[in-house]
Protein backbone atom coordinates (compact mmCIF):
# COMPACT_ATOMS: atom_id res chain seq x y z
CA UNK A 1 0.00 0.00 0.00
CA UNK A 2 2.69 2.46 1.01
CA UNK A 3 4.72 1.54 -2.04
CA UNK A 4 1.70 2.26 -4.21
CA UNK A 5 1.23 5.71 -2.68
CA UNK A 6 4.94 6.43 -3.03
CA UNK A 7 5.04 5.35 -6.64
CA UNK A 8 1.95 7.37 -7.52
CA UNK A 9 3.49 10.44 -5.91
CA UNK A 10 6.75 10.13 -7.86
CA UNK A 11 4.77 9.49 -11.02
CA UNK A 12 2.73 12.64 -10.42
CA UNK A 13 5.80 14.83 -9.99
CA UNK A 14 7.26 13.27 -13.12
CA UNK A 15 4.01 14.02 -14.94
CA UNK A 16 4.19 17.68 -13.88
CA UNK A 17 7.74 17.87 -15.19
CA UNK A 18 6.64 16.35 -18.47
CA UNK A 19 3.72 18.80 -18.75
CA UNK A 20 6.15 21.72 -18.44
CA UNK A 21 8.54 20.23 -20.98
CA UNK A 22 5.60 19.53 -23.30
CA UNK A 23 4.47 23.16 -23.05
CA UNK A 24 7.93 24.28 -24.13
CA UNK A 25 7.94 21.76 -26.95
CA UNK A 26 4.50 22.88 -28.16
CA UNK A 27 5.43 26.57 -28.28
CA UNK A 28 8.78 25.97 -29.94
CA UNK A 29 7.40 23.32 -32.29
CA UNK A 30 4.49 25.49 -33.37
CA UNK A 31 6.74 28.43 -34.13
CA UNK A 32 9.33 26.31 -35.93
CA UNK A 33 6.75 24.50 -38.09
CA UNK A 34 4.89 27.64 -39.16
CA UNK A 35 7.89 29.96 -39.15
CA UNK A 36 9.99 27.89 -41.52
CA UNK A 37 7.90 28.49 -44.64
CA UNK A 38 8.58 32.15 -45.16
CA UNK A 39 12.15 32.08 -43.95
CA UNK A 40 14.65 32.93 -46.67
CA UNK A 41 17.72 35.02 -47.18
CA UNK A 42 15.49 37.63 -48.80
CA UNK A 43 13.19 37.69 -45.78
CA UNK A 44 16.14 38.54 -43.55
CA UNK A 45 17.55 41.23 -45.81
CA UNK A 46 14.51 43.00 -47.31
CA UNK A 47 12.30 45.75 -45.93
CA UNK A 48 8.56 45.21 -45.25
CA UNK A 49 6.18 46.04 -48.08
CA UNK A 50 2.44 46.51 -48.61
CA UNK A 51 1.62 47.24 -44.98
CA UNK A 52 3.69 44.34 -43.57
CA UNK A 53 1.98 41.80 -45.81
CA UNK A 54 5.04 41.22 -48.00
CA UNK A 55 8.78 41.72 -47.94
CA UNK A 56 11.15 41.06 -45.08
CA UNK A 57 12.14 42.25 -41.65
CA UNK A 58 15.64 43.62 -42.15
CA UNK A 59 14.92 47.04 -40.57
CA UNK A 60 13.61 45.31 -37.44
CA UNK A 61 16.69 43.10 -37.16
CA UNK A 62 18.93 46.10 -37.77
CA UNK A 63 17.10 48.19 -35.17
CA UNK A 64 17.23 45.41 -32.57
CA UNK A 65 20.96 44.88 -33.08
CA UNK A 66 21.58 48.64 -32.94
CA UNK A 67 19.53 48.94 -29.74
CA UNK A 68 21.30 46.01 -28.10
CA UNK A 69 24.72 47.30 -29.17
CA UNK A 70 24.12 50.80 -27.76
CA UNK A 71 22.64 49.25 -24.63
CA UNK A 72 25.56 46.94 -23.93
CA UNK A 73 28.30 49.53 -24.39
CA UNK A 74 26.60 51.38 -21.53
CA UNK A 75 25.31 48.55 -19.34
CA UNK A 76 28.34 46.24 -19.37
CA UNK A 77 31.17 48.65 -18.41
CA UNK A 78 29.06 50.44 -15.80
CA UNK A 79 27.71 47.16 -14.48
CA UNK A 80 31.22 45.73 -14.14
CA UNK A 81 32.45 48.88 -12.36
CA UNK A 82 29.60 48.73 -9.86
CA UNK A 83 30.25 45.01 -9.36
CA UNK A 84 33.94 45.72 -8.69
CA UNK A 85 32.93 48.35 -6.17
CA UNK A 86 30.51 45.96 -4.45
CA UNK A 87 32.83 42.95 -4.41
CA UNK A 88 36.20 44.59 -3.74
CA UNK A 89 35.79 48.02 -2.15
CA UNK A 90 32.48 48.17 -0.29
CA UNK A 91 32.49 46.79 3.23
CA UNK A 92 30.00 43.96 3.24
CA UNK A 93 28.76 44.72 6.74
CA UNK A 94 28.19 48.43 6.16
CA UNK A 95 24.66 49.75 6.02
CA UNK A 96 25.38 51.57 2.77
CA UNK A 97 26.33 48.31 1.07
CA UNK A 98 23.29 46.45 2.37
CA UNK A 99 20.92 49.17 1.22
CA UNK A 100 22.40 49.69 -2.22
CA UNK A 101 22.69 45.95 -2.78
CA UNK A 102 19.03 45.56 -1.85
CA UNK A 103 18.09 48.34 -4.29
CA UNK A 104 19.94 46.58 -7.12
CA UNK A 105 18.29 43.25 -6.28
CA UNK A 106 14.90 44.91 -6.14
CA UNK A 107 15.46 46.62 -9.47
CA UNK A 108 15.89 43.21 -11.09
CA UNK A 109 12.28 42.44 -10.09
CA UNK A 110 10.62 45.74 -11.01
CA UNK A 111 8.22 45.31 -13.97
CA UNK A 112 9.75 46.32 -17.29
CA UNK A 113 6.83 48.63 -18.08
CA UNK A 114 7.89 50.81 -15.13
CA UNK A 115 11.27 51.22 -16.83
CA UNK A 116 9.39 52.44 -19.88
CA UNK A 117 7.73 55.10 -17.73
CA UNK A 118 11.12 56.01 -16.27
CA UNK A 119 12.70 56.28 -19.72
CA UNK A 120 9.94 58.64 -20.83
CA UNK A 121 10.00 60.73 -17.65
CA UNK A 122 13.77 60.84 -17.14
CA UNK A 123 15.63 60.40 -20.43
CA UNK A 124 13.17 62.00 -22.84
CA UNK A 125 11.31 64.60 -20.77
CA UNK A 126 14.18 65.61 -18.50
CA UNK A 127 17.55 64.92 -20.14
CA UNK A 128 16.41 65.17 -23.78
CA UNK A 129 14.35 68.32 -23.25
CA UNK A 130 17.21 69.75 -21.21
CA UNK A 131 19.65 69.23 -24.07
CA UNK A 132 17.18 70.79 -26.53
CA UNK A 133 16.64 73.87 -24.39
CA UNK A 134 20.37 74.50 -24.11
CA UNK A 135 21.64 73.50 -27.56
CA UNK A 136 18.64 73.72 -29.91
CA UNK A 137 16.18 76.25 -28.46
CA UNK A 138 12.79 75.95 -30.10
CA UNK A 139 13.51 72.63 -31.82
CA UNK A 140 12.68 69.05 -30.91
CA UNK A 141 15.92 67.12 -31.37
CA UNK A 142 16.64 64.96 -28.36
CA UNK A 143 13.41 65.56 -26.42
CA UNK A 144 11.56 62.84 -28.35
CA UNK A 145 11.58 59.05 -28.50
CA UNK A 146 14.70 57.72 -30.20
CA UNK A 147 16.99 54.72 -30.38
CA UNK A 148 19.40 56.48 -28.02
CA UNK A 149 16.86 56.87 -25.22
CA UNK A 150 15.43 53.39 -25.79
CA UNK A 151 18.95 51.98 -25.45
CA UNK A 152 19.57 53.98 -22.26
CA UNK A 153 16.27 52.75 -20.80
CA UNK A 154 17.17 49.18 -21.70
CA UNK A 155 20.64 49.67 -20.19
CA UNK A 156 19.12 50.67 -16.84
CA UNK A 157 16.85 47.62 -17.07
CA UNK A 158 19.70 45.19 -17.74
CA UNK A 159 22.20 46.79 -15.34
CA UNK A 160 21.11 44.67 -12.34
CA UNK A 161 21.63 41.48 -14.38
CA UNK A 162 25.23 42.48 -15.13
CA UNK A 163 25.95 43.70 -11.59
CA UNK A 164 24.55 40.61 -9.85
CA UNK A 165 26.24 38.08 -12.17
CA UNK A 166 29.66 39.76 -12.12
CA UNK A 167 29.62 40.42 -8.38
CA UNK A 168 28.77 36.78 -7.67
CA UNK A 169 31.67 35.45 -9.75
CA UNK A 170 34.10 38.01 -8.30
CA UNK A 171 33.13 37.04 -4.77
CA UNK A 172 33.63 33.38 -5.67
CA UNK A 173 37.31 33.94 -6.58
CA UNK A 174 39.17 32.49 -3.57
CA UNK A 175 40.48 35.00 -1.04
CA UNK A 176 43.98 33.44 -1.32
CA UNK A 177 44.32 34.90 -4.81
CA UNK A 178 43.91 38.42 -3.46
CA UNK A 179 46.28 37.77 -0.58
CA UNK A 180 48.92 36.21 -2.81
CA UNK A 181 48.75 39.10 -5.24
CA UNK A 182 48.96 41.74 -2.49
CA UNK A 183 51.83 39.85 -0.85
CA UNK A 184 53.73 40.01 -4.14
CA UNK A 185 53.58 43.78 -3.87
CA UNK A 186 50.67 44.49 -6.19
CA UNK A 187 48.36 47.35 -5.34
CA UNK A 188 44.63 46.72 -4.88
CA UNK A 189 43.81 48.09 -8.31
CA UNK A 190 46.46 45.87 -9.92
CA UNK A 191 45.07 42.89 -8.03
CA UNK A 192 41.58 43.63 -9.29
CA UNK A 193 42.55 44.28 -12.90
CA UNK A 194 45.15 41.54 -13.37
CA UNK A 195 44.11 38.78 -10.97
CA UNK A 196 40.43 38.99 -9.97
CA UNK A 197 38.89 40.25 -13.20
CA UNK A 198 40.61 37.64 -15.44
CA UNK A 199 39.44 34.93 -13.04
CA UNK A 200 35.90 36.33 -13.09
CA UNK A 201 35.86 36.73 -16.86
CA UNK A 202 33.24 34.02 -17.32
CA UNK A 203 30.94 36.04 -15.06
CA UNK A 204 31.44 39.17 -17.15
CA UNK A 205 30.69 37.23 -20.32
CA UNK A 206 27.63 35.53 -18.81
CA UNK A 207 26.31 38.84 -17.47
CA UNK A 208 26.80 40.56 -20.82
CA UNK A 209 25.08 37.79 -22.77
CA UNK A 210 22.15 37.57 -20.33
CA UNK A 211 21.76 41.35 -20.59
CA UNK A 212 21.85 41.22 -24.39
CA UNK A 213 19.31 38.41 -24.57
CA UNK A 214 17.00 40.28 -22.20
CA UNK A 215 17.49 43.50 -24.15
CA UNK A 216 16.69 41.77 -27.43
CA UNK A 217 13.48 40.22 -26.10
CA UNK A 218 11.92 42.93 -23.91
CA UNK A 219 9.30 45.09 -25.58
CA UNK A 220 7.56 47.04 -22.81
CA UNK A 221 10.47 49.48 -22.15
CA UNK A 222 10.76 50.54 -25.79
CA UNK A 223 7.01 51.01 -26.40
CA UNK A 224 7.21 54.76 -25.75
CA UNK A 225 10.92 55.41 -25.80
CA UNK A 226 11.71 54.91 -29.46
CA UNK A 227 10.26 51.87 -31.22
CA UNK A 228 8.26 52.55 -34.39
CA UNK A 229 5.83 50.36 -36.32
CA UNK A 230 7.19 51.20 -39.72
CA UNK A 231 10.00 53.44 -40.94
CA UNK A 232 10.87 53.93 -44.60
CA UNK A 233 14.56 54.38 -43.81
CA UNK A 234 17.05 52.82 -41.43
CA UNK A 235 18.00 55.08 -38.52
CA UNK A 236 21.34 56.78 -39.13
CA UNK A 237 21.42 59.12 -36.13
CA UNK A 238 21.03 58.45 -32.44
CA UNK A 239 17.97 60.71 -32.17
CA UNK A 240 15.93 58.81 -34.75
CA UNK A 241 13.33 56.15 -34.05
CA UNK A 242 13.94 52.51 -34.92
CA UNK A 243 12.14 49.27 -35.68
CA UNK A 244 12.40 46.42 -33.18
CA UNK A 245 11.76 42.69 -33.65
CA UNK A 246 9.69 42.27 -30.49
CA UNK A 247 7.70 45.44 -31.09
CA UNK A 248 7.21 44.34 -34.69
CA UNK A 249 5.63 41.10 -33.44
CA UNK A 250 3.38 42.99 -31.05
CA UNK A 251 2.32 45.54 -33.63
CA UNK A 252 1.72 42.99 -36.39
CA UNK A 253 -0.39 40.76 -34.17
CA UNK A 254 -2.59 43.58 -32.86
CA UNK A 255 -2.66 46.35 -35.46
CA UNK A 256 -2.49 44.52 -38.74
CA UNK A 257 -5.43 45.23 -41.08
CA UNK A 258 -5.49 41.58 -42.17
CA UNK A 259 -4.21 39.15 -39.53
CA UNK A 260 -4.52 36.05 -41.71
CA UNK A 261 -2.45 37.59 -44.50
CA UNK A 262 0.35 38.69 -42.20
CA UNK A 263 0.44 35.41 -40.26
CA UNK A 264 3.25 33.71 -42.25
CA UNK A 265 5.46 36.79 -41.88
CA UNK A 266 4.50 37.12 -38.25
CA UNK A 267 5.47 33.51 -37.56
CA UNK A 268 8.80 33.87 -39.31
CA UNK A 269 9.57 37.02 -37.33
CA UNK A 270 8.85 35.16 -34.09
CA UNK A 271 11.09 32.35 -35.34
CA UNK A 272 13.96 34.78 -35.95
CA UNK A 273 13.55 36.42 -32.52
CA UNK A 274 13.42 33.00 -30.83
CA UNK A 275 16.55 31.75 -32.60
CA UNK A 276 18.34 34.97 -31.65
CA UNK A 277 17.47 34.88 -27.93
CA UNK A 278 17.87 31.10 -27.77
CA UNK A 279 21.40 31.23 -29.18
CA UNK A 280 22.33 34.01 -26.76
CA UNK A 281 20.94 32.13 -23.75
CA UNK A 282 22.57 28.89 -24.84
CA UNK A 283 25.95 30.63 -25.07
CA UNK A 284 25.47 32.04 -21.58
CA UNK A 285 24.54 28.61 -20.16
CA UNK A 286 27.51 26.96 -21.90
CA UNK A 287 29.96 29.59 -20.65
CA UNK A 288 28.61 29.20 -17.15
CA UNK A 289 28.90 25.41 -17.23
CA UNK A 290 32.27 25.15 -18.95
CA UNK A 291 34.19 28.13 -17.68
CA UNK A 292 32.41 28.65 -14.40
CA UNK A 293 35.23 27.36 -12.24
CA UNK A 294 34.25 29.53 -9.34
CA UNK A 295 30.55 29.26 -8.97
CA UNK A 296 28.96 30.20 -5.71
CA UNK A 297 26.77 27.16 -5.53
Amino acid sequence: MRRMVDRTFVAMTLAATLVILAMIAIILGNVVIHGRDRLSWEFLTAAPEQGMMAGGIFPAIYGTVLLVFLMSIVAVPFGVLVAIYFAEYARAESRLYRWTRMAVNNLAGVPSIVFGLFGLGFFIQTIGHGIDQVLYPGYLVYGQPSVLWAAMTMAVLTLPVVIITVEETMRAVPQEYREASLALGATRLQTILRVILPQAWSGVMTGAILAISRGAGEVAPVLFTGAAYFLPQLPTRANEQFMHLGYHIYAMSTQSPDVEATKPILYSTVFVLLVLTFLLNLTAILIRNRMGRWTTR
Partner: protein, 349 residues
Protein backbone atom coordinates in the same frame (compact mmCIF):
# COMPACT_ATOMS: atom_id res chain seq x y z
CA UNK B 1 70.92 29.03 -3.00
CA UNK B 2 69.14 29.04 0.29
CA UNK B 3 70.96 32.15 1.45
CA UNK B 4 70.28 34.01 -1.74
CA UNK B 5 66.56 33.51 -1.63
CA UNK B 6 66.45 34.73 1.97
CA UNK B 7 68.31 37.88 1.02
CA UNK B 8 65.89 38.39 -1.84
CA UNK B 9 62.96 38.12 0.51
CA UNK B 10 64.43 40.65 2.92
CA UNK B 11 65.05 43.06 0.08
CA UNK B 12 61.44 42.77 -1.01
CA UNK B 13 60.15 43.54 2.45
CA UNK B 14 62.44 46.52 2.79
CA UNK B 15 61.23 47.93 -0.49
CA UNK B 16 57.58 47.62 0.39
CA UNK B 17 58.02 49.56 3.59
CA UNK B 18 59.85 52.44 2.01
CA UNK B 19 57.98 52.35 -1.26
CA UNK B 20 55.98 55.57 -1.24
CA UNK B 21 58.99 57.86 -0.69
CA UNK B 22 61.66 56.28 -2.86
CA UNK B 23 60.68 56.16 -6.48
CA UNK B 24 64.22 55.89 -7.92
CA UNK B 25 64.98 52.75 -5.97
CA UNK B 26 62.50 50.66 -7.92
CA UNK B 27 65.16 49.82 -10.52
CA UNK B 28 67.06 47.88 -7.86
CA UNK B 29 64.99 44.83 -8.81
CA UNK B 30 67.31 44.37 -11.77
CA UNK B 31 70.26 43.84 -9.42
CA UNK B 32 72.73 41.65 -11.36
CA UNK B 33 73.40 39.54 -8.26
CA UNK B 34 69.83 38.18 -8.09
CA UNK B 35 69.27 37.92 -11.83
CA UNK B 36 69.25 34.43 -13.23
CA UNK B 37 68.52 32.87 -9.88
CA UNK B 38 64.84 33.78 -9.67
CA UNK B 39 62.39 31.91 -11.88
CA UNK B 40 61.21 35.16 -13.47
CA UNK B 41 63.51 37.40 -15.46
CA UNK B 42 61.54 40.34 -14.07
CA UNK B 43 59.16 40.48 -11.14
CA UNK B 44 55.50 39.79 -11.89
CA UNK B 45 54.54 43.02 -10.18
CA UNK B 46 57.15 45.75 -10.24
CA UNK B 47 57.72 47.10 -6.74
CA UNK B 48 55.39 49.79 -5.47
CA UNK B 49 56.11 53.41 -6.14
CA UNK B 50 54.52 56.76 -5.42
CA UNK B 51 53.05 56.88 -8.93
CA UNK B 52 51.62 53.40 -8.62
CA UNK B 53 50.04 54.18 -5.29
CA UNK B 54 48.50 57.33 -6.69
CA UNK B 55 47.06 55.35 -9.62
CA UNK B 56 45.69 52.85 -7.15
CA UNK B 57 43.99 55.57 -5.15
CA UNK B 58 42.65 57.29 -8.28
CA UNK B 59 41.34 53.95 -9.48
CA UNK B 60 39.46 53.35 -6.27
CA UNK B 61 38.08 56.88 -6.37
CA UNK B 62 36.96 56.45 -9.99
CA UNK B 63 35.28 53.10 -9.40
CA UNK B 64 33.53 54.35 -6.26
CA UNK B 65 32.38 57.53 -8.01
CA UNK B 66 30.92 55.60 -10.96
CA UNK B 67 29.27 53.14 -8.58
CA UNK B 68 27.61 56.00 -6.69
CA UNK B 69 26.35 57.68 -9.87
CA UNK B 70 24.86 54.40 -11.11
CA UNK B 71 23.28 53.70 -7.73
CA UNK B 72 21.91 57.24 -7.67
CA UNK B 73 20.23 56.60 -11.04
CA UNK B 74 18.74 53.43 -9.59
CA UNK B 75 17.14 55.47 -6.84
CA UNK B 76 16.09 58.07 -9.41
CA UNK B 77 13.88 55.49 -11.10
CA UNK B 78 11.29 55.63 -8.39
CA UNK B 79 11.65 59.39 -7.96
CA UNK B 80 11.14 60.16 -11.65
CA UNK B 81 8.13 57.89 -12.03
CA UNK B 82 6.61 59.33 -8.86
CA UNK B 83 7.45 62.91 -9.93
CA UNK B 84 5.22 62.67 -13.01
CA UNK B 85 2.32 61.45 -10.86
CA UNK B 86 2.93 63.76 -7.89
CA UNK B 87 1.03 66.90 -9.05
CA UNK B 88 -2.20 64.91 -8.64
CA UNK B 89 -1.64 65.09 -4.92
CA UNK B 90 -2.09 68.85 -4.64
CA UNK B 91 -4.15 70.03 -7.60
CA UNK B 92 -6.93 68.81 -9.81
CA UNK B 93 -5.80 68.06 -13.37
CA UNK B 94 -8.53 67.45 -15.92
CA UNK B 95 -10.86 66.72 -13.05
CA UNK B 96 -8.56 64.15 -11.48
CA UNK B 97 -7.13 64.18 -7.98
CA UNK B 98 -5.03 61.60 -6.18
CA UNK B 99 -8.03 59.70 -4.84
CA UNK B 100 -10.19 60.02 -7.97
CA UNK B 101 -9.02 56.59 -9.16
CA UNK B 102 -10.83 55.15 -6.13
CA UNK B 103 -14.13 57.06 -6.46
CA UNK B 104 -17.39 56.01 -8.06
CA UNK B 105 -18.42 55.10 -10.71
CA UNK B 106 -16.33 51.95 -10.77
CA UNK B 107 -15.39 52.28 -14.40
CA UNK B 108 -12.15 52.83 -16.27
CA UNK B 109 -13.13 54.75 -19.38
CA UNK B 110 -10.39 57.31 -20.08
CA UNK B 111 -11.69 58.32 -23.51
CA UNK B 112 -15.17 59.69 -24.02
CA UNK B 113 -17.43 62.59 -23.15
CA UNK B 114 -16.98 62.23 -19.42
CA UNK B 115 -13.73 60.29 -18.85
CA UNK B 116 -13.89 57.90 -15.91
CA UNK B 117 -10.70 56.96 -14.11
CA UNK B 118 -11.54 54.38 -11.50
CA UNK B 119 -8.76 51.83 -11.24
CA UNK B 120 -10.79 49.26 -9.31
CA UNK B 121 -11.65 47.25 -12.47
CA UNK B 122 -7.95 47.25 -13.36
CA UNK B 123 -6.93 46.04 -9.90
CA UNK B 124 -9.56 43.30 -9.93
CA UNK B 125 -8.47 42.33 -13.44
CA UNK B 126 -4.81 42.18 -12.45
CA UNK B 127 -5.52 40.08 -9.36
CA UNK B 128 -7.80 37.77 -11.31
CA UNK B 129 -5.23 37.06 -14.01
CA UNK B 130 -2.39 36.75 -11.49
CA UNK B 131 -4.38 34.36 -9.33
CA UNK B 132 -5.22 32.12 -12.28
CA UNK B 133 -1.56 32.09 -13.31
CA UNK B 134 -0.42 31.21 -9.78
CA UNK B 135 -3.03 28.46 -9.40
CA UNK B 136 -1.81 26.85 -12.61
CA UNK B 137 1.92 27.47 -12.18
CA UNK B 138 2.42 26.62 -8.50
CA UNK B 139 1.51 22.91 -8.49
CA UNK B 140 3.29 22.26 -11.79
CA UNK B 141 6.47 24.14 -10.90
CA UNK B 142 6.68 22.78 -7.35
CA UNK B 143 6.09 19.18 -8.40
CA UNK B 144 8.66 19.50 -11.17
CA UNK B 145 11.14 21.03 -8.71
CA UNK B 146 10.53 18.15 -6.30
CA UNK B 147 11.04 15.63 -9.06
CA UNK B 148 14.24 17.29 -10.27
CA UNK B 149 15.73 17.72 -6.82
CA UNK B 150 14.65 14.47 -5.16
CA UNK B 151 13.67 11.73 -7.58
CA UNK B 152 15.25 12.29 -10.99
CA UNK B 153 18.37 10.30 -11.87
CA UNK B 154 21.36 12.68 -12.06
CA UNK B 155 21.76 12.22 -15.81
CA UNK B 156 18.16 13.30 -16.40
CA UNK B 157 18.44 16.20 -13.96
CA UNK B 158 21.16 17.76 -16.08
CA UNK B 159 18.71 17.90 -18.97
CA UNK B 160 15.57 19.10 -17.19
CA UNK B 161 17.12 22.20 -15.64
CA UNK B 162 18.47 23.75 -18.87
CA UNK B 163 15.22 22.83 -20.63
CA UNK B 164 13.16 24.84 -18.13
CA UNK B 165 15.71 27.64 -18.43
CA UNK B 166 14.87 27.68 -22.14
CA UNK B 167 11.29 28.53 -21.19
CA UNK B 168 12.63 31.36 -19.03
CA UNK B 169 14.53 32.65 -22.05
CA UNK B 170 11.50 32.87 -24.34
CA UNK B 171 10.64 36.59 -24.66
CA UNK B 172 7.25 37.39 -23.16
CA UNK B 173 6.04 38.93 -26.41
CA UNK B 174 6.46 35.49 -28.02
CA UNK B 175 4.37 33.84 -25.30
CA UNK B 176 1.74 36.54 -25.73
CA UNK B 177 1.79 35.98 -29.47
CA UNK B 178 1.39 32.21 -29.01
CA UNK B 179 -1.63 32.61 -26.74
CA UNK B 180 -3.21 35.23 -29.00
CA UNK B 181 -2.76 33.39 -32.29
CA UNK B 182 -2.86 29.73 -31.27
CA UNK B 183 -3.79 28.81 -27.72
CA UNK B 184 -6.82 31.10 -27.34
CA UNK B 185 -8.45 29.50 -30.38
CA UNK B 186 -7.72 26.02 -29.06
CA UNK B 187 -9.32 26.91 -25.73
CA UNK B 188 -12.36 28.44 -27.35
CA UNK B 189 -12.84 25.40 -29.56
CA UNK B 190 -12.47 23.06 -26.59
CA UNK B 191 -14.66 24.89 -24.05
CA UNK B 192 -16.84 27.14 -26.20
CA UNK B 193 -16.03 30.42 -24.48
CA UNK B 194 -18.09 33.42 -25.46
CA UNK B 195 -14.94 35.57 -25.65
CA UNK B 196 -11.86 34.15 -27.36
CA UNK B 197 -9.49 36.29 -25.27
CA UNK B 198 -10.31 36.27 -21.56
CA UNK B 199 -8.79 36.20 -18.10
CA UNK B 200 -8.16 32.47 -18.38
CA UNK B 201 -6.18 32.70 -21.62
CA UNK B 202 -4.11 35.56 -20.19
CA UNK B 203 -3.61 33.61 -16.95
CA UNK B 204 -2.37 30.55 -18.84
CA UNK B 205 0.05 32.77 -20.76
CA UNK B 206 1.27 34.31 -17.51
CA UNK B 207 1.77 30.84 -16.04
CA UNK B 208 4.29 30.14 -18.83
CA UNK B 209 6.27 33.16 -17.64
CA UNK B 210 6.04 32.37 -13.92
CA UNK B 211 6.75 28.62 -13.99
CA UNK B 212 10.51 28.89 -14.68
CA UNK B 213 10.93 31.43 -11.86
CA UNK B 214 9.04 29.37 -9.25
CA UNK B 215 10.77 26.21 -10.48
CA UNK B 216 14.31 27.61 -10.31
CA UNK B 217 13.98 29.30 -6.91
CA UNK B 218 12.26 26.34 -5.23
CA UNK B 219 14.61 23.80 -6.84
CA UNK B 220 17.54 25.82 -5.45
CA UNK B 221 15.90 25.81 -2.03
CA UNK B 222 15.33 22.04 -2.13
CA UNK B 223 18.89 21.20 -3.22
CA UNK B 224 20.32 23.49 -0.53
CA UNK B 225 18.85 21.23 2.18
CA UNK B 226 21.82 19.26 3.59
CA UNK B 227 22.15 15.59 2.63
CA UNK B 228 22.24 14.70 6.34
CA UNK B 229 18.51 15.44 6.63
CA UNK B 230 17.69 12.94 3.91
CA UNK B 231 20.06 10.29 5.23
CA UNK B 232 18.66 10.57 8.75
CA UNK B 233 15.10 10.24 7.47
CA UNK B 234 15.91 7.29 5.21
CA UNK B 235 17.80 5.59 8.06
CA UNK B 236 14.67 5.85 10.19
CA UNK B 237 12.86 3.78 7.58
CA UNK B 238 11.06 6.50 5.63
CA UNK B 239 10.73 6.07 1.89
CA UNK B 240 12.18 8.60 -0.56
CA UNK B 241 8.84 10.33 -1.31
CA UNK B 242 8.05 10.46 2.43
CA UNK B 243 11.44 12.04 3.04
CA UNK B 244 10.87 14.54 0.27
CA UNK B 245 7.44 15.64 1.49
CA UNK B 246 7.86 15.45 5.26
CA UNK B 247 11.54 16.36 5.73
CA UNK B 248 13.04 18.19 2.75
CA UNK B 249 9.99 20.25 1.80
CA UNK B 250 9.40 21.62 5.34
CA UNK B 251 13.13 22.35 5.73
CA UNK B 252 13.11 24.30 2.48
CA UNK B 253 9.77 26.00 3.15
CA UNK B 254 11.06 29.60 3.45
CA UNK B 255 12.69 29.21 0.04
CA UNK B 256 9.50 27.74 -1.43
CA UNK B 257 7.52 30.65 -0.02
CA UNK B 258 10.09 33.04 -1.51
CA UNK B 259 9.59 31.34 -4.88
CA UNK B 260 5.82 31.89 -4.70
CA UNK B 261 6.14 35.52 -3.62
CA UNK B 262 8.66 36.29 -6.37
CA UNK B 263 6.45 34.51 -8.90
CA UNK B 264 3.47 36.59 -7.77
CA UNK B 265 5.50 39.78 -8.20
CA UNK B 266 6.56 38.77 -11.67
CA UNK B 267 3.00 37.95 -12.68
CA UNK B 268 1.58 41.26 -11.42
CA UNK B 269 3.99 43.35 -13.45
CA UNK B 270 4.23 41.27 -16.62
CA UNK B 271 3.02 43.40 -19.49
CA UNK B 272 3.33 42.00 -23.00
CA UNK B 273 1.57 38.68 -22.32
CA UNK B 274 -1.54 40.25 -20.81
CA UNK B 275 -1.48 43.03 -23.37
CA UNK B 276 -1.75 40.48 -26.17
CA UNK B 277 -3.80 37.73 -24.54
CA UNK B 278 -6.34 39.33 -22.19
CA UNK B 279 -8.75 41.03 -24.55
CA UNK B 280 -8.02 44.35 -22.86
CA UNK B 281 -11.57 45.32 -21.93
CA UNK B 282 -12.01 46.74 -18.45
CA UNK B 283 -15.00 44.94 -16.97
CA UNK B 284 -15.63 44.75 -13.26
CA UNK B 285 -16.38 41.06 -13.00
CA UNK B 286 -15.15 38.05 -11.09
CA UNK B 287 -15.73 35.60 -13.93
CA UNK B 288 -12.52 34.13 -15.38
CA UNK B 289 -14.13 33.82 -18.80
CA UNK B 290 -14.58 37.50 -19.67
CA UNK B 291 -11.90 39.83 -21.10
CA UNK B 292 -9.86 41.78 -18.56
CA UNK B 293 -7.59 44.79 -18.51
CA UNK B 294 -4.64 44.79 -16.11
CA UNK B 295 -2.71 47.69 -14.59
CA UNK B 296 0.42 47.03 -16.66
CA UNK B 297 -1.46 46.57 -19.94
CA UNK B 298 -3.33 49.83 -19.31
CA UNK B 299 -0.07 51.76 -19.13
CA UNK B 300 1.27 50.01 -22.21
CA UNK B 301 -1.76 50.60 -24.40
CA UNK B 302 -2.71 54.12 -23.32
CA UNK B 303 0.50 56.03 -22.65
CA UNK B 304 1.19 56.39 -26.36
CA UNK B 305 -1.97 58.39 -26.93
CA UNK B 306 -2.25 60.69 -23.92
CA UNK B 307 -1.64 64.42 -23.74
CA UNK B 308 1.71 65.03 -22.10
CA UNK B 309 1.26 66.40 -18.58
CA UNK B 310 -2.51 65.90 -18.62
CA UNK B 311 -4.57 64.12 -16.01
CA UNK B 312 -4.74 60.83 -17.90
CA UNK B 313 -0.93 60.91 -18.34
CA UNK B 314 -0.41 61.43 -14.64
CA UNK B 315 -2.86 58.70 -13.65
CA UNK B 316 -0.88 56.24 -15.79
CA UNK B 317 2.30 57.21 -13.95
CA UNK B 318 0.39 56.80 -10.69
CA UNK B 319 -0.39 53.23 -11.77
CA UNK B 320 3.34 52.81 -12.43
CA UNK B 321 4.07 53.95 -8.88
CA UNK B 322 1.56 51.44 -7.53
CA UNK B 323 3.15 48.62 -9.57
CA UNK B 324 6.63 49.64 -8.43
CA UNK B 325 5.62 49.66 -4.76
CA UNK B 326 3.75 46.34 -4.90
CA UNK B 327 6.55 44.47 -6.69
CA UNK B 328 9.21 46.04 -4.44
CA UNK B 329 7.34 44.88 -1.37
CA UNK B 330 7.03 41.36 -2.79
CA UNK B 331 10.72 41.28 -3.77
CA UNK B 332 11.67 42.39 -0.28
CA UNK B 333 9.56 39.68 1.35
CA UNK B 334 11.00 37.10 -1.05
CA UNK B 335 14.59 38.11 -0.29
CA UNK B 336 13.94 37.98 3.45
CA UNK B 337 12.49 34.47 3.20
CA UNK B 338 15.49 33.29 1.20
CA UNK B 339 17.83 34.76 3.82
CA UNK B 340 15.90 33.00 6.56
CA UNK B 341 16.24 29.71 4.67
CA UNK B 342 20.03 30.10 4.51
CA UNK B 343 20.22 31.02 8.19
CA UNK B 344 18.05 28.10 9.20
CA UNK B 345 20.03 25.57 7.19
CA UNK B 346 23.45 26.89 8.15
CA UNK B 347 22.46 27.00 11.81
CA UNK B 348 21.17 23.42 11.79
CA UNK B 349 23.76 21.67 9.65
Amino acid sequence: MKGNSRIGAEKGVGKMESAPSRHADSTAADDPATEGQTPFSRPLFPPQSAVRNRIDRLGELFISAVAFVVIAIIFLIFIYVAREAAPLAWRTIDGILLWSPLQTPYTWQPVGGVPKFNILPLIVGTLKVTLIAMLLATPLALAAALYTAEFAPPSLREWIKPAVEVLAGIPSVVIGFFVLIVLASWLQDAFGFQFRLNALSAGIGLAFAVIPLIYTVSEDALTSVPKLYREASLALGASKPQTAVRVVLPAASPGIFAALVLGFGRAIGETMIVLLASGNASMLSLSPFVPVRTLSATIASELGEVVFGGGHYRVLFLIGVVLFLITSLLNWIGARCNRRLRQRLSGAA
